[in-house]
Every structure is written in structure tokens, then in C-alpha cells.
């Protein structure tokens, strides 16, 4: 490898948050339409949240739709039903709702390990879906929650409009940058090391004196918070909350995106989300049954490329680029 390529690899590995933010700052000008870039950003964040639990802690959640959807509904209900006019309050309400739900459901789901955990997370997400479906007065039920206003962002006394696609993209990017920075700090901290220890051998981590259940619950809540932020941003992007945002297919999207990109890597979820959305965008124009192709590609990855696109790339690179990147198991 040439020296400049190695230097680039080193930079990417040393400043992952900067690289992602820089990339997404330029992305709206590289894709056919700007909302695709924002979609990649928001779903990438959603997959990042899922990846914190699956890729770094080894807990396979099949119910992240609950946190994405509650983030979406929390923001939507506060803005559309309670007539709150502050974008800050709306966003934070959604994120807080997702975090609280993560704490409650996490408590239940973490009573069982392994396979049960996946089933339990799925069951609780489905519970939320049915509640949203039936509580039509509050959620709009089957029609989804409509009438979410496009509000300007109040910033130090200024009122910044974020309603154009490009302005909203940078607004969302600001939030994602904060989330990624926080995530990076957590992963680099001793707490992050304990997460990896739990993934590799939960019993041994417990024997070392770590309160494994508490650490897992914290990871669960953090993961739910990230998914909730993604859901809240998606609500502002769409100005509508479809009831499907709580359906299990939304949970499946996080799984597919993360696995395609590479579980347990920092960039993987974004690579996976971008790949998934581009595939969806292209395939749905070509054939009606495009989910078959997505399903087959996903099966191919599970069978032959379990490290995903980014994880496989990393495994093929020399240590320079992968030194700071915790490799997928």
C-alpha cells in the first residue's frame, strides 16, 4: 500500500466521527435527490443504535422498531397533538420516550439471555405496534399520525428555518454528529471495553466483578436512545408517522442494514444503511418483488460474508486502518 493511502487509512481510523460527518456534509450533492442523503443519515443512525447492542455487546434485538417508533410518535404527538411550538422540546420528548421504553423493556428482556432475548424484544415491539394501532385518538391508528408542523429551530434567540431539504439535512447531521461523538466516547471508555468483554464471554466478565446485567441495561438504554433520535428525526423529515414505524419489519431493517454493512464496526451501519437504501431505490423501480432480492442478498451475507461489507474490507486491510477499529467477532 502506498504511503498516502496508509496515511488516509490512519486518518479514517483516528477520526471516524469527523469522517462520517464530512461525508454526510457532502452527500446531498452526490446523490440523485437530497432526501435520499438524509434518509441514509437517519437510518444509519438507527442502525448505529442497533449495532451498539448487537455488534458491540452481542445482544441480538429483533425489536428496535419499538424505540425508533416511540421516538417518532413521541416527537409527533408532542408537536401535532399538544401544539408545542419548540422543535427542541419535540425532539427531546421523542428521544426521552424511547429511552424510558428502553429502560422498561430492557429490564424485562434482559431477564433472559441468548435466543430468548431476541424473541422478547420482538414481542415487546409488537406490543407497542398494537397499542399504537388501537389508540387511534392519540396516534392516528392505521392512517398514521398526520399534521406535524414544519417548525423553525429556535437557536439563541434566532429562528432558523430548517424546512428545505438541504437545511433539514444539516440540522439532522448536527444531531447525528452529537450522537456519534457521544457513542465514540462511550466505546473508547472502560465501559466500552466491558461491552466487548460481555460480547466475547459474558460469564467471564461477570467473574471479573462487572455487574453484567447493569452494563447490558445501560447499553440497551443508550441503544434505544440512539434509535429514538433516529425515529424523531425521521418524523420531522416526513412530517408524518406511519404506523409501520413500530412494525416488526422496521426492526428487521436495522438487522439487515447492520449485517450488510458489518456488525461491530463503527462505519458498518452507515455503509449498510446506504447500501440498503440505494438497493431499495434502484430495485423498486426495476421489479415489484424487490424485497426478494434484498432477502436473497441478506441470506448470502449471513452464509458467506458474515462480517458484512465494511468488516470484510477491514479484515483484508493491514493493521494500519484497523488498529483502532474493534474488529467484528
Amino acid at each position: 500500500m502506498s504511503r498516502s493511502a496508509r496515511a488516509l487509512g490512519g486518518f479514517v481510523a483516528a477520526h471516524p466521527v469527523l469522517v462520517i460527518v464530512g461525508f454526510f456534509a457532502a452527500l446531498p450533492f452526490l446523490v440523485p435527490y437530497k432526501s435520499l442523503a438524509t434518509q441514509m443519515l437517519v437510518y444509519g443512525l438507527y442502525a448505529i443504535g442497533f449495532n451498539l447492542l448487537y455488534g458491540y455487546t452481542g445482544l441480538l434485538s429483533f425489536g428496535h422498531a419499538a424505540y425508533f417508533g416511540l421516538g417518532a410518535y413521541g416527537t409527533g404527538i408532542v408537536l401535532a397533538r399538544l401544539s408545542v411550538t419548540s422543535l427542541w422540546v419535540g425532539l427531546l420528548a421523542g428521544v426521552a420516550l424511547a429511552a424510558v421504553a428502553g429502560a422498561v423493556f430492557g429490564f424485562f428482556c434482559l431477564r433472559r439471555r441468548g435466543i430468548y432475548f431476541a424473541m422478547l424484544t420482538l414481542a415487546f415491539a409488537q406490543l407497542m405496534y398494537f397499542i399504537a394501532f388501537h389508540a387511534a385518538d392519540l396516534t392516528g391508528g392505521d392512517d398514521g399520525l398526520r399534521g406535524i408542523p414544519k417548525l423553525p429551530l429556535g437557536l439563541l434567540g434566532w429562528s432558523v428555518p430548517v424546512s428545505t431539504p438541504l437545511a433539514f439535512h444539516y440540522f439532522a447531521l448536527g444531531w447525528v454528529a452529537v450522537a456519534l461523538f457521544g457513542l465514540r466516547r462511550v466505546l473508547d471508555s472502560p465501559f466500552g471495553a466491558v461491552l466487548l468483554a460481555i460480547r466475547e464471554n459474558s460469564d467471564r466478565a461477570a467473574a471479573c466483578g462487572y455487574d453484567v446485567t447493569r452494563v447490558k441495561l445501560l447499553a440497551f438504554v443508550f441503544s434505544a436512545t440512539l434509535a429514538g433520535l433516529a425515529g424523531a428525526l425521521d418524523t420531522l423529515r416526513l412530517t408524518v408517522v406511519p404506523v409501520e414505524s413500530l412494525y416488526w419489519t422496521t426492526s428487521g431493517q436495522a438487522v439487515i442494514m447492520t449485517l450488510l454493512g458489518g456488525a461491530g464496526t463503527f462505519f458498518g451501519p452507515f455503509v449498510g444503511a446506504a447500501t440498503f437504501l440505494v438497493l431499495e431505490d434502484r430495485l423498486s423501480q426495476l421489479i415489484e418483488a424487490w424485497p426478494i432480492v434484498i432477502g436473497l442478498i441478506f441470506m448470502g451475507f449471513v452464509l458467506f460474508l458474515p462480517k458484512g461489507i465494511w468488516g470484510t474490507l477491514l479484515a483484508g486491510l493491514p493493521a494500519a486502518a484497523s488498529a483502532r477499529e474493534p474488529a467484528a467477532s
Partner: protein
């Protein structure tokens, strides 16, 4: 709240038994497959759906519901066996989540594939003419076909019990789910037993599908919600426990049926509330052993 009469209550209890029977057929297959090879089959609901579609296909071909009832589960079972042989087998010894992920992908492909072949609109599957009328149970009238579902479920359970307890292969299955290494050390080819049990579990799912088709309609997504309910049954009953799957399946069937009667909107929710309560009191499920499958 609807007025409570003994007849109406009896009807709901019997309806609950029918739903419970279908859940038991699905949950036992899941539990059996998991108990032996620690694979969570996420495509179980898709195979349930395939059973109904295969039944529709055979019915259209032969004109006989009875032929469909016999052939469709076999077709589903062979399909399942091939899936185990061709794909899931590659994943043994890897991350225990991998088979779940693979079968999740498979379920997407099957659900969309069925839409391509049979169309997006649901199909109707009529019960056989011999079972189209009602039976007088003394205190109420009950559709024959629903009674038939209860009978078939009971028959399959007795057959499965005989297979597991009285045959040599059943002995290997039981031993293999307890200590596969030891069974292999005794010179037994567990791989063939795995394929067989996987096929058997799928055939039971297919049977549940063709039985449920005339009641609940045949459509591509028919398997997804009942799959999640079956997961709840397995969690409540205790993973890998066959008596647990039966008791929990019937309990949840009754619970859903009675809630549908008293508070229809809560029927889909009560299942999950019940599961949360069981988990609080007995984290390993009603019949589960602590520590199994963790």
C-alpha cells in the same frame, strides 16, 4: 361488555381450543427444532403460510381437501428438510444467532415469492364438504371443521409422543437434544436426525397452516403475526419443553379467545402482558429449566 351467557362462554372456550391447537402445532415444531439443534427458525411462520398455499395448490389440482391435508404438510416438510441440508447446516458451530438471521432472510424471500406466484390478493380455502356443517354439543352448536382441528391436533400430539418415546429414532432425538457430543461418540449420525426433525417440525407448521387456512384466510403475511404469538408460547412454556409448549399454547389460545369476547381491542395485547407477567414470576417459563439455551 357483552352479556355473559353459558353458551357464549362455551363457544369462546372451544374457539380458544382451536386457536390453541394451531399455536401448539407451531410451538412444538419450534421447540423441537430448537431443542435438538439450537436453531430458532424465524421462517416457521413462512412455512405455516406455505402449508396453506401448498394446500390450495393441491386442492386445485386434485379437487380433494383430504389429499391437500395429507400432501401439503409433506411438501412443506421436504422443503424444510432441503433448507436445513442446503443452508442451515453450514451455520452449525458459528454464532448461535446466525441461523435465526438466515431464516429471517428466508422468510422475507418466501413471503414475497408467494405473492409473485399466487398474487397479492388473499385466497379462500374452503373446508371439505363433509365437515361444512355444525355439531350439536348438547349446550351449543359448533362448526364441525373446528372440532376437526382440535381432533387433528390431539392426534398429532399422540403420534409425536409415540414417536419420541417408543421408537429408536425418537430415543436418538431425545438423547441428541440432551448431549449431542455423547450421541455422536456412540457412532450415531446425528446429521440425518437433524434433517428429519427439521422436516418434521416444518411439516407440523405446514399442517397448522392448511388447518388454519379455512378459518383465517390464506394470504402471504398470514404467518408473521402467528409466528410472534408462537414465540410467546415458547417463551411462556419454556424453550425446548414439549409439555410447556402444549400447556402454554392452549392457555394463550383461551386467553386470546376470551379477551376477544370481553374486550376485542385488547386481544392482541393481552398475549404480551401475560408473557411479561410470567417472565417476572418465572423467568425460565412455566416448564423451562433455568439456564437452558442461554
Amino acid at each position: 361488555m357483552a352479556e355473559l351467557t353459558l353458551t357464549a362462554l362455551g363457544a369462546q372456550l372451544f374457539t380458544g381450543l382451536v386457536l390453541g391447537g394451531i399455536l401448539v402445532l407451531l410451538a412444538i415444531g419450534l421447540s423441537l427444532i430448537f431443542g435438538l439443534m439450537t436453531v430458532v427458525n424465524f421462517a416457521h411462520g413462512a412455512f405455516y403460510m406455505l402449508g396453506a398455499y401448498f394446500g390450495f395448490f393441491v386442492l386445485g389440482f386434485t379437487g380433494s381437501f383430504w389429499a391437500a391435508l395429507l400432501v401439503a404438510p409433506v411438501m412443506a416438510g421436504i422443503f424444510g428438510l432441503l433448507v436445513e441440508r442446503g443452508m442451515i447446516r453450514r451455520l452449525y458451530g458459528r454464532n448461535p444467532d446466525d441461523p435465526l438471521l438466515l431464516t429471517f432472510g428466508l422468510s422475507l424471500v418466501l413471503v414475497e415469492g408467494v405473492k409473485v406466484i399466487w398474487g397479492k390478493v388473499g385466497l379462500t380455502l374452503d373446508p371439505p364438504r363433509e365437515l361444512a356443517s355444525v355439531v350439536d354439543l348438547g349446550f351449543m352448536l359448533f362448526p364441525q371443521f373446528r372440532l376437526f382441528i382440535i381432533a387433528v391436533t390431539a392426534l398429532v400430539l399422540v403420534g409425536l409422543w409415540l414417536f419420541l418415546e417408543k421408537t429408536n429414532v425418537g430415543l436418538i432425538v431425545r438423547a441428541g437434544s440432551r448431549d449431542p457430543l455423547m450421541v455422536r461418540a456412540l457412532g450415531i449420525d446425528l446429521g440425518r436426525v437433524w434433517s428429519l426433525v427439521f422436516g418434521l417440525g416444518i411439516a407440523m407448521a405446514g399442517l397448522a397452516g392448511i388447518l388454519a387456512g379455512p378459518l383465517r384466510g390464506v394470504y402471504a403475511e398470514m404467518g408473521t403475526e402467528i409466528l410472534i404469538e408462537s414465540f410467546v408460547v415458547v417463551v411462556v412454556g419454556g424453550m425446548g419443553s414439549l409439555p410447556g409448549a402444549i400447556v402454554a399454547g392452549l392457555l394463550i389460545g383461551e386467553l386470546v379467545s376470551l379477551t376477544t369476547y370481553f374486550a376485542p381491542k385488547a386481544a392482541e395485547i393481552v398475549v404480551f402482558v401475560f408473557m411479561a407477567l410470567v417472565l417476572l414470576v418465572r423467568p425460565s417459563g412455566l416448564f423451562g429449566e433455568p439456564g437452558l439455551a442461554e
